[in-house]
């Protein structure tokens, strides 16, 4: 099928850029760096005394809690201290060390690196349409015997493919590096979280890791669609990068500001951080659930894609 060659072309264009390889290498270097640093600096003896350490923590938290109650501090803070205490007491009682690192624990710890992937994917998605306009190469592409939507679709799928490769590379790298550094076992390792009625419960780390990497890919997809849309609408990669990064990083601030409004749960910002919903802890907005957030994102994604394709189809190219 000739149409697939459009996709091949886009793929080649992405990987002909030096920056693409830097984007791929950087998270992997960071993962290796973290593992090496951790290995070098961690005192094994201290980890074996983890019960002592936790007892110390519990005492500190209790003091802080008393203080907070006296000063009528924020409920959120008080709740947080209470859950910390509960969690640590449960850990000591059930002999579950929070300091034991395995490949899976390492993957869980490496989860924040997804922001970095998000950033790089935004750069590529923002660039793939707008740079062809700014360089004028779009003319050479659009005069081919292909409908415009096919050309745009090939660009979209190529970006999504790049996001997938980044995502997969980080998963494989963190599992491999984690495994080599701490051993590949630990499938049965648990971590502590809370049930809805604030009881401590155990959960498999593996379960968390798999759920999380799945959700990360959903977040990445939404970011790709967002950056892609702005790149097409404004034909400017700086606006696209700016808006997408703003959504990714400043989203929480906006949600905090708007938290009292009922409609905030329907905004894109409020639903962009899916991984906090896995355990339902530290949520800014209590009403959100995973199925709800994913549905909202799906609606936004569909609308953004529709707008992108409609605008691209009709645009007069004067580049």
């Amino acid at each position: 099928m000739k149409w697939l060659s459009l996709l091949t072309n886009e793929w080649i264009k992405i990987f002909s850029r030096v920056r693409t390889w830097i984007f791929l290498a950087l998270p992997i270097i960071i993962i290796i760096g973290v593992a090496v640093y951790d290995k070098v600096t961690t005192d094994e003896a201290e980890n074996n005394n983890w019960k002592q350490q936790l007892t110390q923590n519990i005492n500190d938290d209790k003091k802080a809690l008393e203080e907070a109650r006296k000063n009528n501090d924020d409920d959120f803070y008080i709740e947080m201290l209470e859950s910390n205490i509960k969690q640590n007491e449960y850990a000591i009682a059930n002999d579950i060390s929070p300091y034991e690192t395995t490949a899976w624990q390492f993957m869980k710890d490496m989860a924040p690196i997804s922001s970095l992937i998000g950033l790089f994917v935004i750069v590529v998605a923002s660039d793939i349409v707008s740079s062809e306009f700014s360089k004028g190469t779009i003319k050479m592409l659009l005069i081919r015997p292909y409908s415009r939507w096919k050309i745009l679709l090939s660009k979209f799928l190529a970006t999504l493919g790049f996001a997938f490769v980044m995502w997969l590379a980080v998963i494989v790298a963190s599992w491999l590096v984690g495994g080599l550094a701490y051993g590949f076992g630990g499938m049965d390792q648990v971590y502590l979280t809370f049930t809805e009625d604030q009881q401590v419960k155990e959960r498999l780390i593996v379960e968390y890791v798999f759920l999380n990497i799945g959700l990360e890919f959903i977040e990445l997809t939404v970011l790709v669609v967002l950056a892609f849309m702005i790149s097409t609408l404004f034909m400017s990669n700086s606006i696209a990068i700016g808006v997408a990064m703003f959504t990714m990083f400043a989203g929480n601030i906006i949600v905090t500001l708007l938290a009292t409004k009922d409609w905030v749960i329907y905004t894109l910002f409020a639903n962009m951080d899916l991984s906090v919903l896995i355990d339902g802890q530290n949520q800014l907005i209590k009403d959100l659930t995973l199925p709800f957030s994913i549905s909202v994102l799906a609606v936004y994604t569909a609308l953004m894609l529709a707008l992108t394709f409609i605008v691209f189809q009709k645009r007069d190219v004067k580049a």
């Binding site: 000739k2 060659s5 459009l6 091949t8 072309n9 080649i12 264009k13 002909s16 850029r17 030096v18 360089k135 004028g136 190469t137 003319k139 050479m140 659009l142 005069i143 081919r144 015997p145 292909y146 409908s147 009709k314 007069d316 190219v317 004067k318």
Partner: protein, 316 residues
């Protein structure tokens, strides 16, 4: 019967109530080089962009090899090659990889064809270098190469000589002629009159988005366009008066040291010469001049100021 490869029918483009292209119709024959000539802003590039589907059509139709681009764009564009303004290339890839981008998505481009085209535009020595190292002329040639890869039968070039040196223009002209002789229809746009006259078989003159007229370059010598210049010594006004009295049917003007008579008839020219000599006026030169495309163009578009590139009329 002449086959038309490209047909424009009542093509119009309006942007915010401003008419850029106004009811434009013309047909391009198989194997001819067709020029779109007009001052800057006449609507040449807009027309070309509509033909290749870069901008939407407000009204009218474009047929390429019989297929309407509004209904059957993919089919219509299959045998079209084009460069709209400067060829824009991917700087971060080699010339070869750039060509491969287009080779991959066009039907029927073989490896032999790719090599052939590279050789044709004389880029073998630099084809694996990154395009960012290319000179403007090399970029133009690579642009031509990508437009020719799939052996189009309609080749559309917008301002193709921009940035080319005289040698490059000469080569391009010869090459386009070769393509046309092999049956390709070539459409070129330009505001450079002299160039169009050398390059094209027919030229459509466009002003304010409207078609003014279509000129055949080969048989442009129409009666009204031929003038005879008599260079005389002595009293110019006297000479003019004598001729005017003897030939009341002719249009006679004087300019500098010359008397200009509008006629193409050889016998009349000889008769006029005789009359002058008999009247005792020395004729030092007789010259037959055909109006150039340029003069006609300037006449038709009324104000010469639009065509900044050509300030001085070229004499033949």
């Amino acid at each position: 019967m002449t086959t038309h490869t490209l047909e424009l029918k009542n093509l119009s483009k309006k942007i915010k109530n401003k008419t850029i292209v106004d009811d434009l119709s013309f047909s391009v024959r198989e194997g001819e080089i067709f020029g779109l000539l007009g001052p800057n802003g006449a609507g040449k590039t807009t027309t070309i962009r509509m033909i290749v589907g870069l901008i939407s059509i407000t009204d009218g139709d474009v047929f390429i090899n019989g297929d309407n681009i509004r209904g059957n764009y993919e089919k219509a564009m299959e045998r079209v090659g084009a460069i709209v303004e400067n060829p824009q290339l991917y700087d971060y890839m080699s010339g070869y990889k750039n060509l491969m981008q287009y080779a991959r998505i066009m039907p029927g481009v073989t490896q032999e064809r790719i090599d052939e085209v590279i050789q044709l535009v004389d880029l073998e020595y630099a084809i694996h270098d990154k395009v960012k190292t290319y000179s403007l002329g090399m970029r133009q040639r690579l642009g031509v190469a990508q437009a020719l890869l799939h052996k189009p039968n309609v080749l559309i070039l917008d301002e193709p000589t921009n940035g080319l040196d005289p040698q490059g223009i000469y080569d391009l002209r010869n090459y386009l002629r070769l393509l046309a002789n092999n049956g390709t229809s070539v459409v070129v746009s330009s505001h450079m009159l002299a160039e169009m006259q050398l390059m094209c078989d027919r030229v459509a003159i466009i002003q304010h988005g409207k078609l003014v007229r279509i000129d055949e370059i080969s048989n442009q010598e129409e009666e009204a366009d031929v003038k005879v210049h008599f260079q005389v010594e002595g009293d110019l006004l006297q000479a003019k008066k004598i001729l005017a009295e003897l030939n009341p049917e002719l249009v006679i003007e004087d300019f500098g040291k010359e008397i200009i008579v509008q006629t193409a008839d050889m016998k009349t020219i000889a008769e006029l010469n005789k009359q002058l000599v008999l009247a005792g006026i020395l004729v030092v030169g007789i010259q037959r001049k055909t109006k150039t495309l340029e003069e006609r163009f300037l006449e038709m578009t009324k104000k010469g100021g639009d065509v900044s590139e050509v300030a001085v009329p070229v004499n033949e």
